[in-house]
């Protein structure tokens, strides 16, 4: 039995244990007896959660979601690119003119004919003809 010393105290001078003892092997047998007497407690009564293996879908679900997300992003980018391209074409006058001049009818109707007539008139005026000569 350990005792706490007191300076010059009668307790210190005695330094005496309390004299109590236990039967031989008491604590070892107590632990054994106590364990054998323990009933089931609330914690043990709780149902144990069974671990079921994950299904195929549960396993691939994160990858499927990720793939869908990337596909969505790719579609959006593609759509934006197409919208941007068509808007550029409509707004570019050079491309509109090039498209128009590529058509033969347009050139004959609006370019060659008009130009030819005015050129012809200019040349006729230069040669001494007047508008009265052509009744126009």
């Amino acid at each position: 039995m350990a005792t706490k010393p007191f300076n010059n105290s009668i307790l210190d001078r005695q330094g005496h244990p309390d004299g109590m003892r236990v039967p031989e092997g008491y604590f070892e047998s107590f632990a054994r007896d106590m364990m054998s007497r323990l009933p089931e407690n609330e914690l043990e009564k709780q149902p144990v959660k069974e671990l079921t293996p994950p299904t195929l879908w549960q396993r691939i679900r994160p990858f499927a979601y990720m793939a869908a997300m990337f596909a969505g992003i790719w579609c959006m980018m593609k759509m934006f690119a197409m919208i941007h391209q068509s808007t550029d074409t409509l707004n570019d006058p050079t491309q509109v003119s090039a498209g128009a001049f590529a058509q033969e009818d347009f050139v004959f109707d609006y370019v060659i004919d008009d130009y030819s007539n005015s050129q012809l008139l200019d040349e006729l005026y230069a040669d001494g003809f007047s508008a009265d000569d052509f009744n126009i």
Binding site: L11, G19, F30, M35
Partner: protein, 185 residues
């Protein structure tokens, strides 16, 4: 092992919370704490048979209340509280059963001490036990924890719910009383 508290019960507490390991872990709790708690109880009730019964009750209550133990307090503190409550309730029951007035309790305890067969039979140790028995219950607890178990005041404060200052004063008074008792005999 009457002295020396296991410092780290973290792993044990984790096992106690797991339904699959709690029974095995509680066996370790019994092995680790039965001796410490036994002596605390025994010094309060002064009878081996009573201490044995109360120790069983202490562990049984701890086992039944295991799912309520959150681990906020130390395992040792929690067990000590249960053991002390069991001891104090037992003394109260005995007082009522034997119709002992509270101011005459020490005489009754002295009789119990003399009737206890599990002692060395030394005159001085018997005198010391009677001197301790003359203290009020709470002061007796404080004296036992400090003098015999050499427990820190901080841990005593957690267990008894009393400030460190009050515990120091209580212990100092207890020592004075016991010295007077021993010198006066």
């Amino acid at each position: 092992m009457k002295n020396g508290f296991p410092e780290d019960d973290t792993e044990l507490i984790a096992k106690l919370r797991d339904p699959s390991t709690c029974r095995e872990a509680f066996g370790e709790v019994i092995r680790r704490y039965s001796e410490l708690l036994y002596w605390q109880i025994r010094r309060m009730v002064n009878s081996h048979d009573d201490a044995n019964d109360l120790l069983q009750n202490t562990f049984m209550k701890a086992w039944q209340a295991l799912d309520n133990f959150r681990g906020d307090a130390k395992l040792s503190t929690w067990l000590y509280k249960i053991a002390i409550n069991e001891s104090l309730n037992h003394l109260e029951r005995e007082r009522r059963r034997q119709e002992i007035p509270i101011d005459n309790e020490s005489a009754s305890i002295a009789n119990t001490i003399e009737a206890d067969e599990w002692v060395d039979g030394d005159e001085l140790s018997l005198k010391l036990r009677k001197a301790v028995a003359s203290l009020p219950e709470k002061q007796r607890l404080v004296f036992n924890m400090k003098y015999f178990d050499d427990m820190k005041y901080e841990q005593m404060s957690e267990i008894l719910g009393t400030s460190v200052g009050a515990l120091k004063a209580s212990y100092h008074l207890a020592v004075k009383k016991i010295e007077q008792y021993l010198e006066g005999d």
